[in-house]
Symmetry: C2
């Protein structure tokens, strides 16, 4: 009877009308206000159009975080083109694969990514961001946005197999921003710090949240723990988003100096946040908000608020306002029952580049992750289903074992994989990075695990490695972990 209007004013144009004088972006090149950003994005959009880019075209974006790169993102939105997220540090074959899979008609590069752009995409136009950003054409005006229209293609950093392009609509980002704001608050004067690559949904979601909320974004070109700590101290940052490994490096670089109270929340997602890390952050007054997020939900799907971290150990928090979470099958979940995590709601994508029939069921996305909801409705993430180790018929969740290992005083980081075993089918093997000045005592660590885990979850072998293989976004690459295993050590 009554249709919900899905057309809304373009976010940047509206923000420039409402709060023209608020700071929008900061980073390399200084600070930019919303009125300036609006004109800048309008000029870049005009330059893109002059370069032949049309609405609905897909455009590869191969850029580090900077105000200029953020302006390019908003320019693509203004034009109605679809951003294809690429990472400046990935290999040419991966970039080539993504450009081909998405049917991109052009790629935008920075000085640091020019070689990669040309190597990966010799057949389509490569556009220099510096030239686009210096365009003098009359700014393209804002246009109404349809929340159903595609805004970005972001490839899931699948740790096995080929990357898969999730098609994120404007509405996916809108609902993520609104729901995140209903949880974290929308406080005038907010400033996000983004050290996330723009190729990561977390980096894009920060840009979209900020322009909707009227917050500022301080963009760092790459993650550097000293630079992040300095920005938090000196620039008035109130919100940020990192993966656990980044948090750990921030804390290591920090020493004992407390974080300022105006940092309201540091979302920590992309993997489990071990209790040890939560505790260490707490000691420095850092308001950690463990988060369960997915590319397919435009980032945050559930978040544990900092004031609940102490009372809800192991929790990844409550679903965002408009997000439904089910376990195993659609519908209400039994508290404590473990199973695949399913998500539904307007944040959830409708499909991938290659369809979605395999993971979408009546609006419910099968995430492939495993977890449970507790008596308070909090989500606990056990592991990626793909990484599940089945040992003697029992489920071993690598992330759970890694969290225990990380709590041992000699261990800096740990990764766990299953290896074939004649008797048990699979057994867990751990690779650990030993803390500086410490030595590896495998038996002691196994005993430590034995006090905290069921016997079948205790790694049969502990192997030291110099570093763990991670994706550009900092997530553990479990498939590569396996390649590091020394057969002499693991053979059973």
């Amino acid at each position: 009877m009554m249709a919900v209007a899905a057309s809304v004013p373009e976010w940047l144009g509206r923000r420039a009308l409402l709060t023209p004088d608020r700071v929008a972006l900061g980073g390399e090149g200084g600070w930019v206000r919303y009125a300036e950003l609006d004109a800048w994005a309008g000029r870049i959009a005009a330059a893109l159009a002059q370069a032949g880019i049309e609405p609905h075209d897909r455009v590869g974006v191969l850029l580090e975080g900077s105000p200029r790169a953020a302006a390019l993102v908003h320019a693509l939105v203004r034009l109605g083109a679809v951003l294809v997220a690429l990472h400046p540090r990935e290999r040419p074959e991966e970039t080539r694969f993504k450009l081909k899979a998405s049917g991109a008609v052009a790629v935008v590069y920075s000085p640091a990514s020019e070689d990669l752009a040309r190597a990966a995409a010799p057949a389509i136009p490569a556009l220099a961001l510096s030239e686009l950003a210096a365009g003098k054409a009359a700014p393209r005006p804002p246009r109404p946005m349809d929340l159903a229209e595609p805004l970005a293609v972001v490839f899931t950093s699948g740790t096995t197999g080929q990357p898969r392009g999730a098609v994120l609509s404007a509405g996916n980002f809108w609902w993520n921003a609104v729901s995140s704001g209903l949880l974290l608050g929308v406080v005038p004067g907010d400033m996000w710090l983004s050290a996330m690559p723009l190729a990561h949904v977390g980096g894009l979601a920060i840009l979209m949240r900020a322009v909707i909320d009227g917050a500022a974004v301080l963009l760092l070109p790459r993650f550097d723990p000293e630079a992040v700590n300095r920005a938090i101290d000196d620039e008035g940052v109130t919100l940020t988003s990192v993966v656990p490994q980044m948090l750990q490096r921030m804390l290591e670089a920090r020493g004992r100096r407390p974080y300022p109270a105006r940092l309201r929340a540091a979302l920590v997602g992309g993997g489990p946040t071990p209790q040890e890390l939560r505790d260490a952050a707490w000691e420095l007054g850092l308001a950690v908000a463990p988060t369960y997020g997915l590319t397919e939900t435009a980032s945050q799907a559930a978040t544990l608020m900092p004031d609940q971290v102490a009372t809800h150990p192991g929790s990844s928090g409550l679903p965002l306002f408009a997000m439904e979470i089910a376990i195993g099958r659609p519908g209400p979940a039994d508290p404590g029952a473990e199973g695949e995590i399913l998500v539904r709601g307007p944040q959830v994508i409708s499909g991938y580049l290659d369809g979605a029939a395999d993971v979408l069921e009546a609006g419910w996305l099968h995430t492939g992750d495993v977890g449970f909801l507790d008596d308070f409705g909090h989500l606990h993430v056990l592991d990626r289903r793909d990484d599940l180790i089945v040992s003697g018929g029992e489920n071993v969740y690598p992330a759970q074992v890694e969290a225990v290992l990380a709590a041992h005083p000699d261990v800096a980081e740990a990764g766990v994989v299953g290896v074939a075993d004649a008797r048990w089918g699979q057994v867990p093997v751990a690779l650990v990075v030993v803390r500086p000045g410490r030595a590896l005592d495998g038996d002691a660590i196994r005993a430590f695990c034995g006090q905290r885990l069921a016997p079948f979850k205790v790694p049969v072998r502990i192997q030291a490695v110099a570093e763990l293989p991670r994706t550009a976004a900092g997530k553990l690459r479990r498939a590569r972990l396996r390649e590091l295993i020394d057969p002499e050590v693991t053979g059973s």
Copy 2:
């Protein structure tokens, strides 16, 4: 290609999951937290179901503001029934008209409104709120909401002719709440003060905004300036919403005592906020936010933030985030050009009980109000089109003349109407309430107007009255004004 999911978790159920311990409601009977409100609304919903109310049924609500009444509103949402907003102080014929027009199947009353309910609706069940609220049935659980579903029928307080029932969807309220939050901020610890009748869209919008944002609502049974001032001083109120006449009475009752700074904004809508009133509020540190709102947009459509009141005299502010405003015809307006105000966006209703073809054009609602957008995009409301006085071919906007009259030291309030005139077609006549201790000097007041208005806008007569006729919500009833005019005074 990709549909925007319009199904979201029920707001109260979700809020009880996310922030069970936050205060939800206060007023008669004390304070209630979100977990308690959730159970309470669930029990009332079960009691309504036992009384035969089914999803999609329309139910008349004839209640003063109270936590219990607010719980009833949430119970109707939980059940999927549609609230028909009625006013406890209106006349039985009006109530009867509204119940009949909406096809209500029952009416809910309080002790104070029982006689009215029985007189107006002898043929349908009348349900006592006290009995529903004391129900002991198992609470009905939350259900997914469809943003397109109707949530309430609110009658426009049309000052001429019969009231017209606007059908407000869940999405209309959702988008109002979200857009309002993007303007005012969503600050943990927020508390709304509502002295608006629940029959007024402003009162309902406060309830919906609060449950979405996780704010508290302090409900007063009726507007009393002393009680409102006391609540602002003592209860931690951060936001409120009043009509100009309420603001004036608050200030009169206040004396010279400043308002606390934690009151972040007092939305003032339902009519123009004269500059004199803005100034008087400013002197007491009251953060006034002049607002243009409509029943048809689930309240706020444009708002001037308090920090812009001094620099944008006469402005009703900027459109809310997802609201488009046009003047005269759809599309961008020329700055300064006067015409009918048109609004479009997901806050705007899709229809009235009797259709909407006369006022809706491709999503644009013709409001009947007259105004213009200035160079900054701010909306200036000149008047209701229905009230326009055409004098010698020139447009005279009563609200503009009233604002000038209200600035005169002898005048407490003023109303202006057009009366027939042989020479000019119509001429403006003013009815004024004289300030206590002052006398009416019509010639002095006309001279005062002559210094501030074009000659054709100066009232030809000034008549003193004891009070001005207003609707229950405090809006001027212009049709009744006309009945007060003394022919001896006005005849020309």
